[in-house]
Amino acid sequence: MVHLNHTYENFNHYASTIRRYSLAAIYHAGSGHPGGALSCADLLAYLMNREIKWKPENTGYGQENRLVLSKGHACPALYAAAAEQGLLQKKALLELRKLGSLMQGHPHVGCLSWVETSTGSLGQGFSVAIGMALGLRYKGELSRTYVILGDGELQEGEIWEGAMFAAHHKLNNLCAIIDYNKMQSDDLNENIIGLEPLPLKWEAFNWHVIQIDGHNFEQIEEAVEEAKMIKEKPVVIIAHTIKGKGVSYMEGSPLWHGSVKLSSEELEQALSDLDTRKEDIGRFLDGAV
């Protein structure tokens, strides 16, 4: 196990920035999915910062590892994370969902090359990531492919087609991360179609399963490093998360799955919950970022 000698303060700061910009973007768009963006913000912060080796010129091409956001509706968080990496102007984040914007309502690789593939229809990003991992191994490349899945997404049959395939072909360069916030569009998973026993399902499909607190950077790092050591199987990290993480009135409520319109009062409260400085709250509200 690799233990890097550092604190996780930078990651916490990065994740908070992702959350603030995600909410501001959704506020200015007048629609979007805040709950699931906030729940995977820490996972994105870690992976975008640590696992994806962005080239200095920030073209997005030629990065060593790949990251697919299969739960494409959480893209405000992906866009905000990319802006932190210098791939986008922060100002551009507030163009989310606007006509002519590169920040489509769901990620489109035709607009932003570094999103790797177009997602938004659940299940597909997982298969695309599998194809990437398979193709990279076939070509003899050593890079890894990460794919972030939603929990409701696991109800798609395609996921289990892919799970069977990846294990059969021993895709050890593939790491799936489930943003397990226990909620989906209408309600709790368990009130829609229950997923449990979730770890046992993946184990039965012959994956190596790691469970973590998806808001704990030490655990995220340990899991990602452990995954690299597994040679005979693909790895799934089941990251237990909180939907709407960081915003008092959103946490634990499926109402904020989206697509929702945030009022200025709601954005103000949310930014305040995220310890945003007062003058910055004003800037976010005005779009003057």
């Binding site: 489109h108 035709g110 177009s118 597909q124 298969s127 194809g131 991992a133 398979l134 395609e158 395939f165």
Partner: protein, 328 residues
């Protein structure tokens, strides 16, 4: 050859080859493998049915088994293309419908260089019955932006089209076929994506066909010739982008048109041709195809007769449309 010799000069049939389009496709992949090292073949447990078993045997490392899971296969092909490979997704046409949305989002929208090759299209599937007889695939795939749609007429054209779509950069949907196919093209034929060819000259009516209906349209031309009607037969193997110039020229020169396809009459070749004709050169049109119903079990020729896809029906439709000339 005997058949065509008996038919005089008008229709251009070159007899049967015994090869189906799926066999021609599978053999072409083997032939092309060394010349194009970047293409790989994806299968969903029907390599024997799609003709790709030839490739599996010759190039096992370039052959990927996805099991009976077409949705995952289709989207994974998008991922393989994203890292620089040219994946051939091979399955039955009906399962391409199953994975239609994967083709849309993970292949067509990002404009991935994936070749979807569908065997077993139309009533030509025969005894397996309606569940396997895809009569909607041309319409569905044609409606997806960025998608090129091809339905070759014979084994030679299938082989040539296979190379052409490797050379073309972008997503393609290509039909092959299950049954032994009649040869309609000469050995020196050159396939060009997006270009139709006149197989039989004629001035009274144009029959525009694709796939297995091209040979049947030549049958129709022969029948019509006996009645003193000169029918032009056009092989429209690229359905999208359709050869507008050829359609408009034929409408101008023959004044009426019949389309013929082994597909639902809604949304396929006939619709594509009509979209051009009605806008820029309105002439009377008629449509040969399955009339918005499901198929059933039976031998391909029995089904073609029952669902009125054969030469005599095409000829009859041609006469009807000729009678309407000047009324548009």
């Amino acid at each position: 050859m005997a058949q065509s010799e008996n038919r005089g000069t008008a229709p251009h049939l070159i007899g049967t080859s015994g090869d189906s389009l799926r066999e021609a496709f599978g053999k072409a992949l083997v032939e092309l493998a060394d010349k194009y090292p970047d293409f790989v073949v994806l299968d969903a447990d029907i390599a024997g049915g799609t003709g790709t078993h030839h490739f599996r045997k010759a190039h096992p490392r370039r052959f990927f088994q996805f099991g009976i899971a077409e949705q995952n296969m289709m989207a994974a092909a998008g991922g393989m293309a994203a890292v620089g490979l040219i994946p051939f997704v091979t399955t039955f046409a009906v399962f391409c419908l199953r994975a239609l949305e994967q083709a849309r989002l993970s292949i067509a929208y990002p404009r991935r260089n994936v070749k979807i090759v569908a065997s077993h299209p139309g009533l030509d599937v025969g005894p397996d019955g309606a569940s396997a007889q895809a009569l909607e695939d041309l319409a569905a795939y044609r409606a997806i932006p960025n998608m090129t749609v091809i339905s070759p007429a014979d084994p030679l054209e299938t082989a040539l089209a296979t190379e052409a779509i490797i050379q073309y950069e972008g997503p393609v949907y290509m039909r092959t076929g299950r049954s032994p196919a009649r040869r309609v093209l000469e050995q020196d034929y050159r396939f060009e994506l997006g270009k139709a060819q006149i197989l039989n000259e004629g001035s009274d009516v144009t029959i525009v066909a694709c796939g297995v209906e091209v040979a049947r349209s030549l049958d129709a031309a022969w029948i019509l010739e006996k009645d003193g009607i000169n029918a032009r037969v056009v092989n429209m193997s690229t359905i999208k982008p359709i050869d507008r110039e050829m359609l408009l020229r034929c409408a101008e020169e023959t004044g009426c048109m019949v389309t013929a396809e082994d597909h639902n009459i809604l949304g396929g070749l006939g619709s594509a041709a009509a979209e051009v004709i009605v806008k820029d050169k309105p002439v009377p049109m008629q449509f040969i195809g399955v009339r918005d119903c499901f198929g059933e079990s039976g031998e391909p020729e029995e089904l073609a007769e029952k669902y009125q896809l054969t030469g005599p029906y095409i000829a009859e439709m041609a006469k009807q449309v000729i009678a309407k000339k000047g009324m548009v």
